[in-house]
């Protein structure tokens, strides 16, 4: 069967299954969410108003049999945090289940006339609009549990916590994992508030009896799937027992610290003396010592890399899943906190309340810089989550992210681009990632063009992190390839093996071509990716963004970053090269 668009209108509480119009037919995942937002959302609309939409799309290969790590979901809309277009990408159970119901995208639009809150139940028979009043105010741990009690077949639960209900700009969208934990997040950019503005508390997806995913050329698909799987299993980083599998993404903590690029104490240093204590190696040690939790956890069925983890407390009970490098940086190093148990407890709060951990950690760091707490005050930091849970005025400020908080506390050191705060790589010490932060259509975002691979890790080539020559092209190449992978449904982490192993790259291309019945070549990847970037860039231009928004914060130009004592010295013209092609082609 051909894929359908499921349009959910919250104003009149109707659901319709539409044929995919020709203009969207080739897209999936991020390509599809961005195409729909580009076509249907007025770039000048208020993100929380009636004219924004939330779009949810699995990728090309999501839900296909045994394609490795294929369960990523794209969430799109206009971002309340940045005012730009947004695609936020999550693991968890949702992608494969939506895809197996034959749905290419779910578009949620409108707002209930009666002001009531709903949750949606979607299965092979259609959509039910259910009263959500008993779920209001509840955290995602409870919502996930209730939904698994209420429904059979261990459904996917997409939901927002209390901060999504108050339409806070740092509200993420939670997706449950195979253990029904709420830790997989489309976290960045406040899309939880876009969902909340439609008065949708949760979306439950049961794919039982669904038609499954149509594969146009099974032989080609199988050939590609095999090559890709082999590359993942062969590469030192992604193989079983390799860096990601054994330690998770937090394997980077010590390395980026060593390189002097670990943002520490609100981006005032590139090295943190407590890095080892919050590193991936320490997570693995705790799992071993406490004989509980696990490393090598899969965030969705069929992930062969398994970079996730479940972190145990001192008594062997589970605190949170997962502790990522980004989480440990933001809630740890950037707040001057070197206690992994506290990082885990704060992660649990974020996952339950519905907050993006990166933005939240950076928010606490900015508040510390503004004098609310001392850097390193872990008890104080943890207590701030009570302010958010109790919806106090301070809690509401914090739930709105770094820029809102910096303004309230009179802080000039504001590590944001286009309203979104920076992830765990210091652009003064690693210039290429600064190009991505500055120019990404998403605001400061590492995943949208991960130049760290060649700049630090020696994956996909080796380049000097301290220079800016050639970085505009490097960032664009990564941004374009990423836009393709984000459309595929594959986890972005397949990029590491396929950048080094050409057969793996071919395998990714062939598996996508097999599903879609395309004649697709490796060189088409960047071209398709650029088509996605162009839609996003044009949306942002129409929303009022110009090259002047593609800049890093001013303090980075005059505050030298220890230990290398470097500033952001990249000329603006270099940054403007990244997207110059948009109006040239």
């Amino acid at each position: 069967m051909t894929r359908k668009i499921l349009r959910i209108n919250m104003t009149d509480l109707t659901a319709t299954y539409e044929d995919i119009p020709e203009k969207w037919a080739k897209w999936a995942g991020r390509g599809l969410t961005s195409a729909i937002v580009f076509d249907e959302v007025d770039p000048t609309c208020h993100p929380l108003g009636p004219n924004n939409k939330l779009v949810i799309a699995p990728g090309w290969v999501s839900g296909t049999p045994a394609a490795p790590s294929n369960g990523r979901t794209s969430f799109g809309g206009k971002s309340p945090l940045t005012g730009t277009i947004k695609e936020s990408n999550s693991g968890g159970l949702s992608s494969q289940k939506i895809a197996k119901l034959g749905i290419a995208a779910i578009i949620i639009e409108g707002q209930p006339k009666d002001g009531k809150w709903y949750y949606l139940f979607i299965n092979k028979d259609g959509v039910k609009f259910e009263d959500a009043s008993d779920l209001l105010g509840k955290g995602m741990e409870e919502v996930d549990r209730i939904m698994w009690e209420r429904y059979d077949h261990k459904p996917a639960v997409i939901g927002i916590g209390p901060v999504g209900e108050i339409l806070a700009a740092n509200a993420g969208i939670s997706v449950n994992d195979p253990e029904n934990n709420p830790g997989r997040y489309a976290g960045r950019g406040g899309l939880g508030a876009v969902m909340g503005a439609r008065h949708v508390k949760a979306i439950v997806v049961d794919d039982k009896g669904g038609p499954g995913v149509e594969i146009k050329d099974m032989a080609l698909f199988k050939k590609g799937r095999k090559k890709l799987t082999n590359a993942i299993l062969a590469h030192d980083l992604t193989k079983p027992g390799g860096g990601l599998n054994a330690y998770g993404t937090d394997v980077l903590m010590n390395i980026i610290n060593e390189a002097g690029g670990l943002p520490t104490r609100n981006f005032s240093s590139g090295q943190f003396e407590g890095a080892a204590k919050i590193s991936g190696e320490m997570i693995a040690e705790m799992v071993e010592k406490r004989k509980a939790g696990m490393t090598g956890h899969a965030c969705h069925p069929g992930c062969v890399i398994q970079c996730s983890n479940i972190y145990p407390g001192p008594d062997g009970s589970i605190i949170a899943s997962p502790i990522e490098y980004e989480t440990a940086f933001a809630l740890g190093a950037n707040c001057g906190i070197d206690d992994l148990d506290f990082v885990a407890m704060m992660t649990k709060e974020c996952n339950d309340l519905g907050l993006d951990t990166i933005e939240m950690g950076n928010t606490i760091a900015v508040a510390m810089d503004g004098g609310l707490l001392e850097f390193g005050d872990k008890e104080g930091a943890l207590a701030l989550f009570d302010e958010i849970r109790n919806n106090t005025p301070l809690g509401r400020i914090l739930a709105n992210g770094v820029e809102a908080t910096a303004q309230m506390f009179g802080v000039h050191r504001v590590p944001t681009v286009k309203g979104q705060s920076m992830p765990a790589y210091e652009p003064r010490a690693i210039k290429g990632i600064g190009f991505t932060y500055a120019t990404s259509t998403m605001g400061a975002d590492h995943t949208s063009g991960y130049t760290i691979a060649p700049e630090i890790a020696g994956v996909g080539g080796k380049v000097d992190p301290m220079t800016y020559e050639g970085k505009a092209d490097l960032s664009l190449a990564f941004q374009a390839t990423t836009a393709f992978i984000d459309s595929s449904g594959y986890c972005l982490f397949i990029a590491f093996p396929i950048l080094d192993i050409a057969e793996g790259f071919e395998g990714m291309v062939e598996s996508v071509a097999g599903v879609m019945g395309w004649d697709l070549k490796a060189e088409d990847v960047v071209e398709l990716g650029k088509e996605v970037l162009k839609m996003e860039r044009l949306f942002n231009e129409r929303a009022g963004f110009t090259n002047l928004d593609d800049r890093l914060p001013e303090f980075m130009r005059y505050e030298p970053l220890p230990p290398h004592n470097v500033v952001w010295d990249v000329p603006d013209e270099e940054l403007d090269k990244v997207y110059a092609w948009v109006h040239e082609d």
């Binding site: 054994a246 394997v251 390395i255 991960y450 890790a457």
Partner: protein
């Protein structure tokens, strides 16, 4: 001359006495290269992907200097 060496992630198994992030302080002869130092420590060449000196990438044939803070790093990345 004296240097301090750190190993991370999957390379830690070759220096099991070192705590996480802990440095091994070593005396090495003048003119030692990073490749030689790597071999002295028993780190398999094909598992060492990156070598850093004072936070800057170096090549295996570069020569170690007195007081260097050195890190041997396997394949890592993430996000």
């Amino acid at each position: 001359m004296q240097v301090e060496v750190r190993v991370f992630a999957t390379l830690r198994q070759y220096l099991p006495d070192l705590g996480i992030g802990e440095a091994k302080v070593m005396d090495v002869p003048e003119g030692t290269t990073f490749a030689q130092l790597r071999d002295m420590l028993g780190l398999p060449a094909d598992e060492v992907k990156i070598i850093m000196r004072n936070g800057i990438h170096v090549e295996p044939d570069d020569v170690v200097q007195d007081g260097d803070r050195i890190a041997f790093i396997p394949a890592v990345a993430g996000g």
